[in-house]
């Protein structure tokens, strides 16, 4: 098993909040059975993603002109419930919008996400892990998605990539996923109340940070391929 270990230094966002992302690490191809796998760590938050596919799919779930995507979200403890279903749907739709499903009709792509440690910004970590696992499995994709979470603190300050303590103290937590081509918003999920002005502020802060993550993704692939260059 070949392991590629890349440690991103703390990446500064170009925003007046001058918030920093926590250290961002990504390890690809660490599982032997799946077709693609990735472990993404943002600070202490860690998610393991595995991709199987394109493979066989149940007759009832078969789509005639494209691949069926399925996301299985495994929480760290307990059985998945209603909240996890919403997460799964969100993650599946996010992946669907970047995967070129038309190239593998009547097949299935399964993405399994296992939470290893949740220390805040879990959703963005899940999206990033799923994206890296998809790249690793070489499922054809239109572009990449990079997700960033930010928290609006009581006094109005914006904290990028918050940990669970900051999330708890904040008045709102917003997660955005951006496509790597146009840097537009693919996915958006929020918690708490905030004004439209704050929303725009968070959006542009996260948008700037997502470019850092996109360029980190490129480095990760470069490192993975370095032996063949």
């Amino acid at each position: 098993m070949q392991r590629y270990y890349s440690v991103g230094s703390n990446m500064a966002a170009t925003d007046e909040t001058s918030a920093l992302l926590r250290s961002f690490e990504c390890e690809q191809n660490l599982l032997s059975r799946p077709d693609g796998s990735a472990n993404v760590r943002q600070g202490d938050t860690s998610v393991l993603a595995a991709v199987y596919g394109p493979g066989e799919v149940k007759m009832s779930e078969e789509i005639i002109d494209k691949a069926t995507l399925k996301v299985i979200f495994k929480p760290k403890i307990g059985l998945p419930g209603c909240a996890e279903k919403l997460q799964e749907r969100l993650l599946r739709n996010t992946c669907e919008s970047v995967v070129l499903a038309v190239l593998h009709p009547r097949s299935g792509v399964n993405i399994v996400l296992q939470v290893i440690q949740d220390s805040g910004s879990l959703l963005s970590c899940c999206i990033n892990a799923a994206c890296m696992a998809l790249v690793d499995s070489a499922v054809p994709m239109k572009c990449l998605v990079s997700a960033v979470t930010c928290a609006v603190m009581e006094e109005g300050r914006i904290v990028l990539d918050p940990d669970s303590k900051q999330e708890k103290e904040s008045s709102a937590v917003l997660t955005f996923a951006f496509d790597s081509r146009e840097n537009n918003v693919v996915t958006c999920s929020t918690k708490g109340c905030y004004t439209p002005e704050k929303y725009q502020e968070c959006l542009s802060a996260c948008g700037a940070a997502s470019r850092n993550i996109s360029s980190f993704f490129r480095q990760a692939v470069e490192r993975r391929m370095s032996k063949e260059l």
């Binding site: 070949q2 077709d35 593998h104 070489a138 572009c143 032996k227």
Partner: protein, 236 residues
């Protein structure tokens, strides 16, 4: 983009300025590249490769096999149904193999194929919308190496698709170097399955291990590794 040849590209990158063939003024795009309007879009993360005169593709670490027409694969017969065999080649769907697609086979004279047999075959039909179809004969009706692999002491290993391509490339001398020291038979399927058979089971395992562990090695490293293995084999 002539200057990104040999560099790493990721999905979403847009490429341009491809070198077209002088005769036809066309560019051939291989796996991982896709035309979208006027642009060429990268759909897989890997290294952009170019072959003269006009062929471009992405080299990536893929494990799942996507059937391509004309490729040689090793399959496992899973079902016998009517006049076709269903063969697992590691792709999305099982491939079909007609019992007439063997050398000298007729309606009366059926080939002796059992469930669980390994077959070395060529993909006749490989298309995203259709079931893949295998044949064990060439266009002249001769077996030319294809057919059922006899189950008497050989061993099949699963490897990555990348390793298969590496082994088959003319720059890689693992098979040549191994063969000089340990005589063995082999069949290499593009679906990441390699079958080997040497004189004794011990030799077979040595050869299989040598091949499986050579993925990320250079030619020099491979030679050292094989020498070490051979030394151990002869009891040093």
């Amino acid at each position: 983009m002539a200057d990104s040849v040999g560099k790493v590209v990721i999905p979403g990158d847009i490429l341009s300025e491809f070198r077209a063939s002088e005769k036809t003024s066309k560019v051939a795009l291989g796996p991982g590249l896709r035309q979208e309007g006027e642009e060429v879009l990268v759909t897989k993360g890997g290294i952009l490769r170019h072959k003269e005169p006009n062929l471009y593709w992405i080299d990536c670490h893929q494990r799942r096999y996507i059937p391509a027409k004309g490729e040689d694969v090793i399959g496992i017969v899973t079902v016998k149904s009517g006049d076709v065999y269903r063969v697992d080649i590691g792709a999305t769907q099982p491939a079909t193999l007609s019992y007439l697609a063997f050398e000298g086979a007729t309606k009366r004279n059926r080939p002796n194929v059992k469930v669980g047999d390994l077959v070395f075959a060529k993909l006749l039909v490989a298309n995203k919308d259709m079931e893949p179809e295998l044949v064990c004969i060439d266009s002249g009706g001769h077996s030319s190496g294809y057919g059922v692999i006899p189950a008497d002491g050989g061993f099949m290993v699963h490897t990555s698709l990348n390793l298969v391509r590496k082994i088959l490339s003319p720059n890689c001398d693992i098979l040549k170097f191994l063969g000089k020291n340990v005589p063995f038979e082999t069949a290499v399927g593009m679906n990441g399955r390699i079958w080997v058979k040497a004189k004794t089971p011990k030799d077979t395992i040595v050869v299989a291990n040598a091949i499986a562990s050579s993925e990320h090695m250079t030619n020099a490293q491979i030679r050292t590794m094989i020498r070490q293995l051979l030394d151990k084999l002869s009891g040093f």
